[in-house]
Amino acid sequence: MGSEDSGDRLGRQPKQTHTDFEEIHAFDKAFRAITSGLPVRTGSLFRVGSESLHLWRVEVTKENRSQIKWKADEINRKDFEEIENDATIESIEATTFITLVRNSMVRNMVHFATEVLKSVDDGKKEFHVCELAPGFGQTSVSLAVSLLGNANLLRRTHFHLIDYSRDKLARAEERLDGYKPASIDAIAMKDDDYLATTGHTFDIVLSRGHFHRKPFLKDTLEAIRSKLTGKGVLISSDWHSSLPNHPSFVYELLERMGLDGARLRLFKGMFDITNAPELSPEEQHGMEEHQEYWAEVYREILASPSTSGRKSKHYLLGAHDTTEKRVQKLEEAEFIVDPAKIRMAFPTSKLGRNPIKMMTDSDRASVIMAMKGK
């Protein structure tokens, strides 16, 4: 069953919105076919944040919510498998600039985490740090190095690493083990499943560049909050963008990538590419940088002899949102994000602004600390 609004001022009929899961599935299949076979493709609509799906003609209802969420999870798992089987995907997507910003994100996350742990440490307390989707463990290892210089704090810190990939977990564990923390618990599992079943509570939950893969992020945030200790914090960094939040932005990108007229007409026929939402200058800049990023990846793949012949798949849609929207989601999940309130909870710490936007005049990447509060 679909829903329809009345026509716009010019009398054009709005396009039908789908609510029936089977219809959505068929609609998504047609959508994916538009960019099928290209090295960079949109990927499924189920990648888009649930709050933006209506702009893509999919309405999340009480009835279809669990099915859509299941599908989004399945896509996430498939992505993981593709990446696991084709190492070039990650290396192509990690441009020099992306790598530099990601390293800077790690530095800021580690700064937050170290300050929090130092400020509540009494010299005896044991701490539990959980990292969701740690990959090769860069953030946890960097935190371990930071704690190494703080009395015997590292010897009392337990690390819990949760990732789909056993191979990456093994590497992360090996790297971390050299620093001899209190313990390392590396579990190959979906983050939501782990959070739903673990008996641990955590002083810190870390997540780097992961939440934009969670179309139903609020559920995950609530689960994280329930697993935090009283003064526990979630320290996350992520890539932000409004690109997936309106079809017109994606259409612009596909045009820039040089998609042929037939594919573009198909896209135009499926979605309303007018009435793009107004963005703040920072958000606009972030969205344009995201477009430019994918256009550059596309150009690189076509230009490089080592990658142009490969069948690697790169998907540009994700559950990206803006930093403002992310803060809103955190607050809806009852986290405290206000830096003044966080500083009050950790009075001896050196905590500055929050969120930290990583780039000047752009909302492309940020680090956010969120406290459980009461």
Binding site: S104, F136, Q138, S142, L148, R175, S306, T360
Partner: protein, 397 residues
């Protein structure tokens, strides 16, 4: 083989050795990339007459090697770093160079509220080391100090410099602060040669000094610094290239054919199994042995990765690494004070510091070290000269 010291003979020896390994997926490269202190083990004698030429030739070899590197090269190296079991990488070195630099700057700034700090980033690459300094300044809420920093980035690759400027322009602190950045294209050697005394307050460098095979550059840096100038250096330390016996073992495991392998062994009078006996004879400690073993795994992992990339993008494995103790001695010989107790007492920047050495690898392979000139010692230091390369112990007391 008798030691050689004429440039012609050294080049001939180098050509022979390079030729032996040229077909490997990860070739050895020039002997002149090895730290000068180890070259006598490779039958190369450094003299006053050939020192400058060796240094220049070494630089040329490094530049030639860097020119072949492409994204596929760097990706393969990144992957091999993980497989070799090194827990940290250059980004971690950058982080702690940034943190230590800011820790020192904050202390120095307490005593002089108007001083502008001239910071030189040697081998700046894409600007990540300077970016790490900006991160640390921001995390310390050092708004006022940010405006008092002038950065000079030295980098041989024009493309890297261009990227560095663009990357740093986008750094979040540049939204609220004017970041003063000057870029100079060129090698560290050329830049240092032009430097005058008291030209900067702080020199930072990350994962670069192991490309400088003779320690004379440290004397030049020391001279270019202000009277209380500071050097913060992050680097990788290994002695795996100290002796040809260790290199022979690498070559064998990379799949060198038997004939070439025996030629290499006979050139440097190496026997099978020497690599197992030498660590004890050389008095290597367990951390050094483990680090060298991981370095061997790292080189072999790169060799494996390089099999999948075009030969023209393959790097070469020899580099100018030394042990941390040797680097510390070079720094002392160049006139730097390295002892943290003395630094705490006599240098404002180190007053609150527990340790001026940050070991970020469990076995000491990656470290950040902060050293300084002490104003009280100004004029007392015998700097390295061609006739006295180490500038050894002729202090006026």
């Amino acid at each position: 083989m008798q030691p050689v010291n004429s440039i012609g003979d050294i080049d001939a020896l180098d050509d022979i050795v390079r030729g032996l390994t040229a077909k490997l997926s990860y070739p050895m490269g020039s002997l002149l990339k090895i730290a000068g202190r180890y070259l006598h083990n490779y039958c190369i004698e450094i003299t006053d007459d050939n020192r400058k030429l060796i240094e220049e030739s070494s630089l040329t070899k490094y530049l030639e090697g860097w020119a072949t590197a492409a994204k596929v090269t760097l990706d393969a190296i990144k992957k091999a770093t993980r497989e070799a079991g090194f827990p940290v990488d250059n980004s971690d070195l950058n982080e702690y160079v940034g943190k230590m630099t800011v820790e020192i700057l904050l202390e120095m700034a307490k005593y002089d509220k108007t001083r502008v700090f001239r910071i030189t980033d040697l081998g700046a690459g894409d600007g990540e080391t300077t970016g790490a300094v900006l991160d640390a300044l921001d995390n310390e809420n050092a708004d006022e100090l940010i405006e008092r920093c002038q950065f000079t980035l030295i980098e041989p690759s024009e493309e890297n410099l261009w990227n560095a400027v663009n990357n740093l322009k986008k750094h979040r602190v540049s939204k609220e602060h004017k970041i003063d950045i000057t870029t100079i294209g060129g090698t560290n050697h050329n830049f240092l040669r032009r430097m005058r005394s008291d030209e900067c307050d702080v020199v930072i460098s990350s994962a670069v000094f192991h490309h400088m095979i003779l320690p004379t550059y440290l004397g030049t840096i020391e001279q270019s610094l202000a009277a209380d100038g500071v050097l913060v250096v992050g680097d990788w330390y290994t002695t795996i290239f100290r002796h040809p016996a260790f290199v022979a073992d690498i070559l064998s495991q990379l799949g060198m054919d038997t004939r070439a392998y025996h030629q290499f062994q006979s050139l440097f009078d190496v026997c099978d199994g020497d690599e197992k006996v030498l660590p004890m004879q050389l008095g290597m400690n367990s951390d050094e042995i483990i680090t060298d073993y991981r370095m061997l795994r790292y080189i072999l992992a790169i060799g494996k990765e390089f099999q999948g990339i075009p030969p023209e993008n393959r790097d070469e494995f020899l580099e100018g690494h030394c042990s941390f103790a040797e680097r510390e001695q070079d720094l002392k010989d160049a006139g730097f004070t390295t002892d943290v107790k003395q630094l705490k007492e006599e240098h404002k920047g180190f007053a609150g510091m527990e340790s001026n050495m940050r070991n970020i690898d469990p076995y000491g392979a990656a470290r950040v070290f902060g050293v300084a000139k002490l104003p009280s010692k100004a004029g007392q230091v015998q700097r390295p000269t061609p006739g006295n390369p180490k500038g050894q112990a002729k202090l006026a007391v």
